[in-house]
């Protein structure tokens, strides 16, 4: 897993994105490990182009695709869907144009904070927004993460 390299590649390519999911929780103080990097990205053609360029060297492919099935990774592909669950040489990376309970990239960014991590300045969901997103996602692993996130919020609130 080289998620730091992925984050740095996105930043250096000028991709507009917000860190969500497990890594956002970790930066906020969670001790739960995660096996993938989740980001929410801006759905503009320029951002699609940047995202496609940034990730191309790491050979992204949908995780559920058989190895012999052709897959083209470019801005057009990004334009044709809003959720990508990818395997890359850096590890599993999920790209989402929208986040359950929060909405589009602009709405997600509005509830995010700037943080210095992985040697870059990046946007990450704040704790209240993470709790809303986890609750809205509603999967067992998201629900299980709630007590910890709510504790962190209660412990660090004024």
């Amino acid at each position: 897993m080289k998620f730091d390299v992925a984050v740095q590649a996105f930043c250096d390519a000028g991709v507009e994105f917000v860190l969500i999911g497990g890594w956002a929780a970790i930066l906020n103080g969670s001790v739960r490990t995660t096996r993938d990097l989740d980001i929410c990205y801006a759905r503009t053609s320029e951002n699609h182009r940047r995202l496609a360029t940034a990730l191309a060297p790491y050979h992204p492919r949908p995780r559920e695709f058989p190895p012999n099935l052709p897959f083209v990774w470019d801005a057009t592909t990004l334009n044709n869907a809003t959720v990508f669950t990818l395997t890359t040489t850096l590890g599993a990376i999920d790209l989402l144009a929208e986040v359950s309970g929060l909405g589009t990239f602009e709405q997600v960014k509005a509830v995010s904070k700037l943080v210095h991590a992985f040697d870059r300045e990046i946007w990450t969901l704040d704790l209240p927004a993470l709790i809303v997103a986890k609750r809205a996602a509603g999967r067992p692993r998201d629900i299980q993460a709630l007590p910890e996130l709510e504790s962190l919020l209660e412990a660090s609130s004024e």
Partner: protein
């Protein structure tokens, strides 16, 4: 006039301006104002950390923290994380995830 021609012909960079130029002053003022308005995720202050420590080590009855402890969350681990900067939390967890992956790979082999 010199500044105007620079703006028209080249991308604006700080290096393109002298530190006394109007554009430089405007840019630094804008950045300072931007940095003030943007909310940042940072390390807890000593006061915030002391309060978090109090709440995590002695949870108030019926609080979210008490519920989490009863759910099985190790609150001392959370406190350890809160003592770190966000960058340290990220790099430590990355190291841990890679270690876990390496062990899982070895176990499979």
């Amino acid at each position: 006039m010199r500044e105007k021609s620079v703006i028209q012909n080249r991308p604006i960079t700080f290096a393109a301006f002298g530190e006394r130029s109007t554009a430089f002053r405007e840019a630094t003022t804008y950045i300072a104002r931007y940095n003030q308005t943007v909310e940042r995720l940072q390390s807890l202050t000593p006061e915030q950390l002391a309060r978090a420590e109090q709440r995590l080590l002695r949870p108030a009855p019926a609080s979210r923290i008490a519920a989490a402890r009863d759910f099985g969350i190790d609150l001392t681990l959370l406190l350890m994380q809160l003592r770190l900067s966000p960058a340290e939390r990220g790099s430590q967890m990355l190291e841990l995830c890679n270690h876990v992956e390496e062990l899982t790979g070895r176990a499979r082999r």
